[in-house]
């Protein structure tokens, strides 16, 4: 162990947290939009539009079929255009958000589909317009499952940040590769691995906790 270890790790951790936070936020906004749109536009949905459904679905499948590392390379011009550079954590957020959104979109789609059609019908029968049904029925009814699904998504993003580290995004992943792999600093390698594991545990625990609190409020006996 050398005395620069703590500094390196601290900087790496902050960069990773920065990337995970903003990528998750953007991916969530995009993924929610995709997921909700998929559910409402499918056949028999509250804003039925099978064509649009098909287009979005195909788009999601295409993005998801690319290995993430290739997607990053493909999105480099976009990063340059949005943040002015292709290097560093901020540039990575662009690719991470777009790479994770389709994944989150599918998770959210599947979760919303589990809301019983009867509840949607009840809302229709009282004259609720589609947007009211989305925000008062679909999302709240699915909330505990949504939180669990989104947790999986954020953990996925955490893994992706480590991959993005390989091509200059910074963060813990980049530490592991630059120091652990290229300079044979095993202390850095092991420490980053442990930090990433802890981070993932923390996210999982946080997600479970929030979902648990929501369920407890709705499904407890007094």
């Amino acid at each position: 162990m050398r005395d620069d270890l703590i500094d390196l790790l601290w900087k790496g951790l902050l960069e990773t947290l920065y990337m995970v936070f903003w990528s998750s936020l953007f991916a969530l906004v995009l993924g929610m939009t995709l997921g909700v749109t998929l559910v409402v536009t499918e056949k028999g949905g509250i804003l039925e539009a099978p064509r649009l459904h098909k287009v979005i679905s195909t788009l999601i499948n295409s993005v998801r079929s690319l290995p993430f590392i290739i997607l990053i390379v493909l999105l480099l011009p976009l990063s340059r255009w949005v943040v002015g550079t292709t290097l560093g954590p901020t540039a990575a957020i662009v690719s991470l958000s777009i790479g994770a959104a389709p994944f989150l979109g599918r998770i959210i789609e599947n979760t919303l589909k589990e809301v019983s059609p009867g509840k949607v019908e009840a809302a229709k029968s009282i004259g609720a317009p589609p947007f009211t049904i989305i925000f008062h029925v679909l999302i709240p009814e699915a909330l505990p499952a949504l939180v669990r699904g989104i947790t999986i998504g954020i953990i996925g993003i955490t893994e992706f940040t480590a991959v993005a580290g390989a091509i200059g995004a910074g963060g813990l992943g980049s530490l592991a590769i630059r120091f652990g792999y290229q300079r044979f600093r095993e202390d850095v390698l092991f420490a980053t691995v442990i930090l990433i594991i802890l981070l993932v545990q923390l996210i999982q625990w946080g997600g479970d906790f929030i979902a648990g609190q929501i369920s407890k409020k709705r499904y407890k006996f007094e």
């Binding site: 019983s116 229709k124 029968s125 004259g127 008062h136 029925v137 709240p140 499904y219």
Partner: protein, 261 residues
């Protein structure tokens, strides 16, 4: 008043088309409690769901309180649905909302101010005898209580019509009875038209004035409930009444043995 004319509905399935309703003509007077009966798959749910267009009919017209439901566009339909309450076999309450919030939902959708909503929800919860449960989530309620919430939700915006698709089928006989009494009471107090589907002849006998029998998507008999039991004409009606008579005879024999004959 509800007037249904020449209503047709088919479902397209991968295996071909299913005719669910065929040339339905029906007239239900205002303030009536109207029963629809028929065997499984006859088309009862399809018919009642066409009334608020949860199912889109293929052709024909439906008129409720002078409004031609089948001619409305989506936003007009949403408006019209606010005056057509519906209750369901599976209750379909929202788990994420308390009893109060569930019942308040239709009023919120209709854009009423908060103080009015509070007052109105409390009134209707009082009517269905659930005042003490307003802050409870549906999960903590019994089936009968859930259906009371469903009824409160359906009635809170003072509809002209209440549609009920086997609303008591998931309930025990005693709870069924109390729900039926509630509906009867509401029908009297609010002069509300009730259209209800049922499998249970008891339900029919207990609260309906008039009825229709549906068989393979067609109405085969309509008239008063008394006529149905005294002088059944259609196949379905005869079979239903026969079942009742069978059990009545059996009970008489058993009571007979009990008396030592």
């Amino acid at each position: 008043m509800i007037v249904i004319s020449n209503l047709n509905k088919t479902y397209k399935t991968p295996k071909g088309t299913v005719t669910a309703l065929e040339n339905i003509n029906l007239r239900i007077e205002k303030g009536d409690i109207f029963g629809i009966i028929g065997f499984s798959g006859a088309g009862k749910s399809t018919l009642i769901r066409c009334l608020n267009r949860l199912e889109e009919p293929d052709s024909g017209s439906i008129e409720i309180e002078g409004k031609v439901i089948t001619q409305l566009n989506q936003s007009e339909l949403q408006q019209a649905r606010r005056k057509i309450g519906m209750i369901f076999q599976q209750f379909n309450l929202l788990d994420s909302k308390t009893v109060f919030q569930n019942v308040a939902f239709p009023l919120k959708v209709a854009g009423h101010p908060k103080p009015f909503i509070q007052k109105r929800v409390r009134e209707i919860l009082d009517l269905v005898q659930l005042s003490d449960k307003e802050n409870v989530y549906p999960f903590q309620l019994s089936g009968g209580q859930k259906q009371r919430v469903g009824i409160a939700r359906a009635l809170v915006n003072e509809p002209d019509v209440l549609l009920s698709d086997e609303a008591t089928s998931a309930l025990d006989p005693q709870t069924t009875y109390s729900i039926l009494e509630l509906l009867k009471d509401i029908n009297r107090k609010l002069h509300l038209t009730i259209v209800l589907i049922t499998h249970e002849l008891d339900v029919l006998q207990h609260i309906c004035n008039n009825m229709a029998v549906i068989e393979n998507g067609r109405i085969v008999e309509t008239g008063s409930v008394d006529k149905f039991f005294l002088n059944p004409e259609s196949d379905t009606a005869k079979r239903f009444v026969k079942i009742i008579e069978y059990y009545r005879d059996k009970r008489m024999v058993m009571e007979g043995t009990g008396a030592g004959i």
